[in-house]
């Protein structure tokens, strides 16, 4: 095994690094250098190696995630891209699903397609739903496009034909013609990038892949070169949005699979903590400055999805972004963070977010010219932060500015005292997050009862108790290292690759040969990707069928045994489906046939087994020595509105086993953990804060 592992996560503001060497972890934050992100990485790598006293050659593995692809899509800074498509379907990217994501906004904005219409190039050809050729590919028409691509300075080409996921021959032929004529072009085929039914989603994914490909290929080349010059010879792996790792070569072909790798790292961080602590049902809650992200984690695996929306233009509204059909960790992003701004709406209601003060000017209390009240300002007025200690004392907060902003924008219009207005803001943002979490549970067919909330990010530990109360959750973990959680998550990610393919089947006429053939090919392809980085580690394979009753709308993932299927397996699939359906919706529908729309295969290295946590590590020996508080602070409770003196403890002063009854605040440099009345907290053997609510 490699002696040490280095993770690098490039975010919008900071590049986070985590190095594990001989069982010891070192972490570091450096500023991101947006113009040439590899420069910030080099600075950080040099520094963290020096901090840890580790020689570059001793690093056995580098794991990397970046928001570069996401940012290029949001800021529209990708390559000049063309889309070659079936004649008659030039406008699939513009027409989307012909709907508006907001019924009541006449001035609605829809995202512009990544490729303008004059570079969406129709070619005569047509394949039907079964893969039969209705019209042959007009190769002359393809050749005729080559001068146009040159004239328009096109650097990257997406190819998307109808039903190509059933029969990729026409797309492959276009790929050959372009490779022969213009070997310098980047070509992305929809049948390779996202071989799934539904042309809008497939073309959108393929176009986005083409759009970020030149940029990512160049960046990854520079990064590899830079690390080599530092003396690192370790292989570089890229974090995927689905939670696995892959090689630079695969990342260069399918860079679209790297979007959202940072948040994926955060979810893996939570999943690892869940596994460590033997918590089989978890809600991961990561609240930062602009947004909060939640993710359901069952059996130590973050919830997976097959699609995702990037670059939303409408206030985080579902439907306002570009759809991507790629394997992702399913997360809900809510426009609620410390910087979210509060105002009073036309109905006299307090409304919070999604508009955000951002880092500059930031909340009013930052004293940088912000005059609108943000969630951080409200927390400050409720006594939840020590204004002198915020951000480790580097950013003293201005309470008077916070009070003035809240008074003007919220308290005065409603005739409330300023502190009550602050309470209203916090209560409303907590309610918004809890409501989004409830809807997400419904959409996922899950519940919150009996779950543990794992809270991190700057705001997570501040809001965790109240959100848990609203969701009926009675147990919370606040891990250490939460400020660089994603980078730590990278270190825990398996080398893994997931493929999703559409193959329509009905259980009443199940073609085991066709299914076995497809699944075997998928396994082979995924194993080839993983083999490049598994160093001979043991591999596991997970197969899933996405099934539904004929005529119903939502597919349910059903596990498929990872071996050749025989006719006897059909009954097993039906039983597994019925069980999964009943789990989601209570009542199976008798007499309905079942259809399979697609299959997924994940090949993954098997995670290293964890030492079983001893009783001391897991918990909460309740008889530890009492810790005296640093001081008392007046805090207003957001549930009751009452003010009381809450003891404040430094997290560093706690030792495993000591239990503190709420209300209390556990302060640390990056955040504060609020322990509400009726809750208690103990430091467990992993160094995590474990909060639990007393039975009522």
């Amino acid at each position: 095994m490699p002696s040490s592992r280095l993770a690098v996560d490039i975010g919008g503001t900071f590049t986070d690094l985590a190095l594990e060497h001989l069982g010891k972890r070192t972490t570091l934050k450096v500023l991101t250098t947006p113009a040439a992100p590899e420069e910030g990485v080099m600075t950080g790598v040099r520094a963290i190696l020096a901090m840890a006293g580790v020689a570059p050659e001793a690093v056995g593995l580098v794991i990397h995630g970046t928001t570069l692809a996401t940012n290029a899509l949001i800021e529209r800074k990708g390559a000049r891209t063309a889309l070659i498509t079936t004649a008659g379907f030039r406008d699939v990217l513009t027409m989307r699903n012909e709907s508006r994501y907001d019924q009541y906004d006449l001035n609605l904005l829809l995202p512009e397609p990544l490729v303008p219409r004059h570079l969406r190039l129709p070619v005569p050809e047509r394949i039907d739903h079964a893969g039969a050729v209705l019209a042959p590919l007009d190769e002359e028409a393809v050749h005729a496009l080559i001068p146009l691509l040159a004239r328009e300075n096109v650097e990257s080409v997406a190819v998307g034909f109808l039903h190509s996921f059933v029969n990729p021959a026409h797309e492959a032929r276009v790929g050959e013609i372009l490779a022969a004529a213009r070997p310098d072009l980047f070509v992305s085929l929809s049948s390779e990038v996202s071989p799934e039914m539904r042309e809008w989603e497939r073309f959108s994914t393929t176009t986005a892949n083409a759009y970020v490909r030149p940029l990512m290929a160049r960046y990854l080349g520079r990064l590899e070169e830079g690390l080599r010059t530092l003396g690192l010879s370790a292989p570089i792996f890229l974090m995927l949005s689905g939670g696995g790792l892959t090689t630079v070569e695969t990342a260069c072909r399918f860079p679209i699979r790297l979007v959202e790798s940072g948040p994926a790292g955060g979810a893996i961080f939570s999943a690892h903590i869940a596994r460590e602590s033997a918590l089989d049902r978890v809600l991961s809650f990561d609240m930062g400055g602009t947004t909060a992200k939640i993710c359901l984690i069952d059996d130590f695996r973050p919830q997976a999805a097959k699609s995702f929306e990037v670059a939303r233009v409408g206030r985080f509204r579902k439907g306002s972004g570009l759809p991507l059909s790629i394997p992702v960790i399913e997360m809900v992003e809510i426009g609620a963070g410390g910087g979210s701004l509060a105002h009073v709406d036309a109905m006299g209601r307090i409304a919070v977010g999604p508009e955000s003060a951002g880092a500059d000017p930031g909340p009013a209390s930052y004293g940088r010219g912000g005059t609108s009240p943000a969630v951080t300002d409200a927390n400050l007025l409720l006594g939840r932060y020590d204004p002198a200690r915020f951000a480790g004392g580097k950013l003293p907060l201005d309470s008077a500015a916070a009070a003035a902003a809240l008074s003007r924008a919220v308290a005065a219009p409603l005739g409330l005292a300023t502190e009550m207005a602050a309470l209203g803001v916090v209560e409303m943002v907590d309610e918004n997050m809890a409501n989004a979490a409830r809807v997400h549970a419904i959409e996922s067919g899950k519940t919150y009862e009996g779950r543990t909330l794992i809270a991190f990010g700057g705001g997570g530990p501040v809001h965790a108790c109240r959100i848990a109360e609203k969701l009926g959750i009675r147990s919370i973990l606040v891990p250490s290292g939460a400020g660089v959680g994603s980078a730590i998550g990278f270190l825990r990610a398996p080398v893994a690759y997931e493929l999703v393919r559409s193959l329509y089947q009905r259980l009443s006429a199940f073609d085991t040969n066709a299914v076995n053939h497809l699944l075997a090919a998928m396994t082979e392809e995924a194993e080839a990707v993983v083999a490049a980085g598994s160093f001979g580690a043991r591999l596991s394979e997970t197969r899933t069928a996405f099934m539904r009753y004929v005529g119903q709308g939502h597919e349910i993932p059903v596990p498929v045994p990872p071996r050749a299927l025989g006719p006897d397996d059909v009954a097993g699939l039906r039983a597994a489906y019925d069980a999964a359906y009943a789990r989601f919706y209570d009542r199976p529908v008798p007499g309905s046939d079942i259809e399979v729309l697609s299959f997924s295969v994940i090949v993954s290295t098997v995670p290293e087994p964890l030492a079983p946590p001893d009783a001391h590590a897991r918990g909460a020996a309740p008889n530890g020595a009492a810790v005296p508080p640093d001081f008392l602070q007046s805090v207003r409770d957001s549930a009751t509105g009452e003010i009381a003196e809450w003891p404040v403890f430094a997290r560093t002063a706690l030792h495993p086993g000591s239990r503190i009854a709420g209300p209390a605040i556990i302060a640390e440099d990056e955040t504060s953990t609020l322990v509400g009345p009726g809750w208690s907290v103990a430091l467990n053997g992993f160094g995590y804060l474990a909060l639990s609510q007393e039975a009522q």
Binding site: G88, M95, D105, R349, N432, V439, Q552, F584, Y585, V589
Partner: protein, 584 residues
């Protein structure tokens, strides 16, 4: 200070509960989308969900859903309570109807109402409405001559009695539809989604220690009423008239509205009088009054008070006077199956009135009516298979398609996008997987968006054939062919629609028609109207549209007075000369 804080906390909690109630009905709607069988619900989102107080007044409605059900479902709960008074309702009861005049306007919409109990006391009602795919009869289309031909008619009845299914009812339902499994499954889904709402409401009432919903209802109604009236008070008062023409079934239909904005008995109100509107049609394009009110309210609200949540009080200040017997208040038993084709024009009519009051807040007219071709083939069209003649398997399918929306004051209209309806289209690949048809073309229709300073959204062109180009049929329900969407403030009208065979023959806009073997159906969907003088449009925007092939160089020159070379390059000097001939 302490007392003030207690009052403050109560105020904040009421606000939180209002948000929670909206989240509860949103969960109700999401449950329906996930469990429904009909594509109309799960793919297209043709549904609605809400919670009502004991007097049948809507307290909150799910954000997810389509405007057609706004306040038509709202009125419906009152009809249920009239037949089954609250004191007769028991936990586990579910009530249902699809009566177009007691529900939401046609037999394809089922409405289910369920009482909610907390601590053994009835505290409110949950209701939802969904458009199901088949209720027997002639199927979706305009051909019926009375509602009795249009399908299974369900009066308000109990479908679950204290949790037990009413098997007699379900026997009738299964016998009356082409798709018994789906219809029964949908009814179960509607009941389950109300149950989900009831469970969540009970949790909320326990958390906030509520005994009843009355104080919360009063708070919601008072704030909504005040906010809506304040928005109305900001409008210029007066009476503003407009009219709009539909192609009709076999004769044109005129819709007339006179909208009065101002105080009525001291309260700010908007009243719409539809005097002068055409009488009922003999075919199923007639509109029951509740559906007229629904789309009229939507058209007004989207302009006047879009941010205010829908509930009884926020909709109450809008009053409609509809002449009985007109096509907008068709009495039973007139046929009403495709009432949306007229109903979807109502927001354009409302904006025609509002344009005179607040011209910078409305859009130009759009394609508005959906272009959803119900397609059918196989034995029911071509007779039983004979000899070696190739035959299609039996199929029936409807796809959802939209023309362009009207130009907005500051932005172009949306290309090929549904408005006012909230439905979504299905992927062509998915459609071709469930029916033996081939969509040969589905793309934007150049030069269809009305010219203007901001232009109308482009319509689209579709070419549809059956597998192997065999015979099939279309039960047409299209509009805006003879009467294209109009522009405003000097903007030009959008292109009218066109329904034809590929071989050239023009088809009727409404009614059952055969597409013969070897031929295909061509649909050219209307573009939206433009807004403002086209000669004021930014030349760079015109040049972009020319380069994109959406506006022809001729249209750029004649309509927009912009000169663009064949390569899409803008000729600034020639444009300047064309736009300002006197200066040069």
């Amino acid at each position: 200070m302490m007392a003030a804080n207690i009052v403050g906390l109560a105020e904040i909690q009421r606000q939180v509960m209002w948000n929670r109630l909206i989240a509860v009905v949103e969960e109700q709607a999401q449950t329906m989308i996930r469990t429904a069988f009909s594509t109309t619900v799960r793919e297209a989102g043709d549904l609605s969900a809400g919670i009502f107080d004991l007097e049948g007044r809507m307290m909150a409605q799910a954000v997810t859903g389509t405007p057609g059900h706004v306040n038509s479902m709202m009125e419906s709960v009152g009809h249920f309570l009239k037949k089954f008074p609250a004191e007769t309702m028991r936990p586990g009861d579910h009530y249902i109807t699809n009566d177009p005049w007691l529900g939401t306007g046609h037999l394809h919409d089922l409405t289910v109402v369920t009482p909610a109990f907390h601590d053994a006391r009835m505290v409110g009602l949950f209701a939802n409405t969904a458009h199901v795919i088949d209720v027997g009869g002639l199927g979706m289309g305009p051909e019926g001559r009375s509602v009795f031909e249009e399908g299974l008619y369900i009066p308000i009845v109990k479908c679950f009695d204290e949790g037990r299914p009413n098997e007699t009812f379900f026997d009738f339902v299964r016998a009356g539809t082409r798709l018994p499994v789906e219809l029964e499954g949908d009814i179960y889904s509607l009941c389950a989604c109300n149950d989900a709402g009831i469970r969540r409401l009970a949790e909320m009432m326990a958390e906030f220690r509520l005994e009843g919903l009355e104080p919360l209802a009063a708070f919601i109604f008072e704030n909504s009423r005040r906010a809506t009236e304040a928005e109305i008070a900001r409008l210029p008062s007066g009476t503003f008239s407009a009219e709009i023409c539909s192609d009709g079934y076999d004769e044109e239909v005129t819709l007339k509205a006179a909208m009065t904005i101002g105080k009525v008995g001291g309260k700010d109100r908007i009243t719409v009088d539809y005097a002068g509107t055409s009488p009922c049609s003999t075919r199923g394009i007639n509109v029951p009054a509740a559906y007229t009110r629904a789309y009229s309210c939507f058209g007004i609200k989207v302009v006047v008070a879009p941010e205010i949540p829908n509930n009884w009080a926020s909709l109450a200040p809008f009053e409609m006077r509809i002449p009985p017997g007109s096509i907008l208040d068709a009495p039973r038993p007139y046929p009403v199956s495709v009432r949306h084709v007229i109903g979807h024009l109502l927001p354009d009519l409302m904006m025609g009135c509002l344009y005179q009051a607040v011209p910078d807040r409305v859009t130009a007219e759009g394609a508005s009516s959906l272009w959803n071709p119900p397609l059918r083939g196989g034995a029911s069209v071509s007779g039983p298979p004979r000899g070696n003649r190739p035959a299609l398997p039996d199929f029936e399918i409807i796809t959802f398609n939209s023309g362009g929306t009207g130009a907005r004051p500051m932005r172009d209209g949306l290309d090929a996008t549904a408005f006012p309806s909230g439905v979504r289209t299905m992927a062509v690949e998915a459609t071709e997987n469930v029916a033996p048809i081939v969509v040969w073309r589905k793309e934007l229709r150049p030069d269809s968006g009305g010219a203007g300073r901001t232009r109308g959204g482009m319509g689209q062109i579709m070419e549809i054939g059956a597998k192997d180009d065999l015979e099939f049929a279309c039960n047409a329900i299209f509009d805006r062919v003879k009467h294209p969407p109009k522009g405003r403030s000097g903007g030009k009208q959008g292109a009218g629609g066109r329904v034809a065979l590929k071989s050239g023959r023009i088809l009727r806009t409404k009614g059952f028609q055969i597409i013969p073997e070897g031929d295909r159906l061509i649909l050219e969907l209307p573009g939206g109207g433009g807004m403002g003088d086209p000669a004021l449009r930014a030349p760079a925007d015109v040049a972009r549209d020319v380069r994109d092939g959406l506006v022809s160089p001729e249209a750029a020159r004649t309509l927009y007075k912009v000169v663009v070379g064949p390569d899409g390059a803008l000729d600034r000097a020639a444009t300047e000369a064309l736009r300002h001939p006197l200066k040069t």
